[in-house]
Symmetry: D2
């Protein structure tokens, strides 16, 4: 029997959207038979900024038991699914900070042929949802990762915004503006499927 | 009195969406006092492909009197507003073909400090609307153009998709899925305003 | 025994650089056991432009027997290796024109899980070599392709410009300015290896 | 008499390359008549990481009197020149962290029509030098900034790597691998010139 595909779902979330997206990704990946670690990247914002935003503060409290992502998770995983909001069209510094810590693994070639996939959110339908995922993939290419963007492989792609680079969602005061749950799960399943191919092919 | 700002609105359209966007851009630019040339880039598709799509055929017939864009328009203009659909997240070959003809002007430095702005459309809300405009700007940077993306400078940015790189619209079987008319006009006005600053500043 | 991995090496070249790069890619892929088709995309430039440049004219004559790329090649292949010069930081219209013809295959889902990798050239060391390959990958993501950029997986990455998105080369009046032959071959080999994993994994 | 153009040169540097680039930018901008503030973004790395790298530690000590960048500098300046190394093809988290703090100014529209220009470095000639500057510009577009990339406007563009998005340099164990001093100064001068146009045009 094949060993399970190992997936690290790595997210940053200030008020909960990307935590929800990450949990859907976890659920989809498990449904496809993967072993999944759901981890959050470390917060960088000063406590005063967090305290001034009750939703942020509440979310951090709610997720205080979610483990923090470490480079060991990158080494352990066969595949990475990142879920991250945009900050001005690019990754938040919190997510970038985590990626930046991988220099040691990179130098040892331990990030090569990991499969990578990204998910994002923004306050506007075209407010950086495409760019944020694409900027993530720039870094994945430096790592030698294999990129498995969803394209239009899921039947729900067209009803969930149709972002071929990675499923993404618009977030307003009332939360998510589109129903992307199935699209996120399908992206996670596709990530596992591609990883499984790569892994089984590698072991032959 | 200041000479008018000269704007070339350059579009590619197969079935009419970007022609409409370009006309709105023309209208906005004129309202801001600019002299505007509205020009289409040459079609590259074989006649058989066009004939097999009645909407495409009808649109080409409808716009047969719109002048074709030439490199002279690039030299004449103080500013370019491009309107273009996506083709797999990048410019259609028709638009790229036109841009590729500018090598001579580029070699003479005649594209430097032109102001550039882009508008796009796609079949999905996140189906390349951001990337298509951004890929256009890559070329504009090679030209030494000054890029005036709309950002969130227009009050209607947030109700029209919020694409900070350039106004864009989703196109379905029933036509445009969002009302972007004011956003396109505001982007055109902003382009004229920035160009006017650059031009008047240059002449001082 | 496993069936051979099928690779389409698809290039555009006006004066021969990318034809050479494509031949190295072909050689690398064959060394790794693949079945390879080397095809050129159709020329779009008017004959007068070609005739005015003796090197261009000579190259077209020299390669007149190289088959032209068709969408059938895209359907046939398990993997695509594209080799293309930059034109103002983006694909030449000739290459984009070819990609744009794949709409029918895309609509039938026949481009999903093809493995893709890109190679480029430019007149300046940082004159769009990164961007051109990255813009190609934007389209590959729309296709649902699996992207196998070289990263720093080849031992010669660091002596050949270190472009992690795809091997690339600077071209001057005296031809290629860096020795990228081994890097191109290694990228082709890696493409075959990743494709082999994907294919064998898929068939299990 | 016209008031001086105000330029914030904002850099991140771990071992000194981008500090040097930033000082050249400062010098170029001053030669063009600008008032310049040279500021560094705050370090995020833990002291243990810094202490383990003697060059990093020494550089931080050497530059301890350079003021830290604040959002007030963004509000004060007419133009921003950013100088930053790559980290896996994108901005280092330190630089992104600083940009992320500008949400308040952005919400008040105070970043609109600032002129922006970027400079970068990487360990490989094509190791993200293009992408890092381009990713910076994504954020600048969200801000409503006017982007003045150098293109090929400087006569030394072609001898300094020819990066049209922003001057950039390769850094090895022996320091900078190309002579980009004049290109950086010319980019700074161009930034001041464009800003001067925009500012004088605005005030008319």
């Amino acid at each position: 029997e094949q060993p399970k595909v190992k997936v690290a779902v790595i997210y940053y979330s200030s008020t909960g959207t990307n935590y929800q997206l990450a949990k859907w990704a976890e659920e989809g990946a498990k449904q496809e038979g993967a072993e999944v670690k759901l981890v959050k990247v470390a917060e960088l914002a000063p406590q005063t900024a967090i305290d001034s935003n009750s939703a942020w503060k509440a979310h951090l409290e709610e997720t205080k038991d979610v483990p923090e992502a470490s480079v060991d998770d990158l080494e352990w995983a066969d595949a990475f699914i990142f879920s991250t909001p945009t900050r001005f069209g690019n990754l938040p510094s919190q997510m970038k900070q985590f990626l930046d810590t991988a220099g040691g693994l990179w130098g040892q070639g331990k990030l090569v042929n990991k499969v990578a996939s990204g998910i994002s959110s923004a306050g506007n339908p075209r407010g950086g949802q495409e760019k944020t995922v694409k900027h993530l993939y720039t870094t994945m290419m430096h790592w030698g990762a294999i990129i498995a963007a969803p394209g239009y492989t899921s039947p729900v792609a067209f009803s969930s915004g149709g972002n071929p680079y990675g499923t993404s969602v618009t977030v307003g005061d009332e939360g998510m503006q589109e129903d992307v749950q199935e699209a996120v799960k399908d992206q996670a399943k596709r990530t596992v499927t591609v990883t499984s191919m790569v892994k089984e092919g590698q072991e032959k």
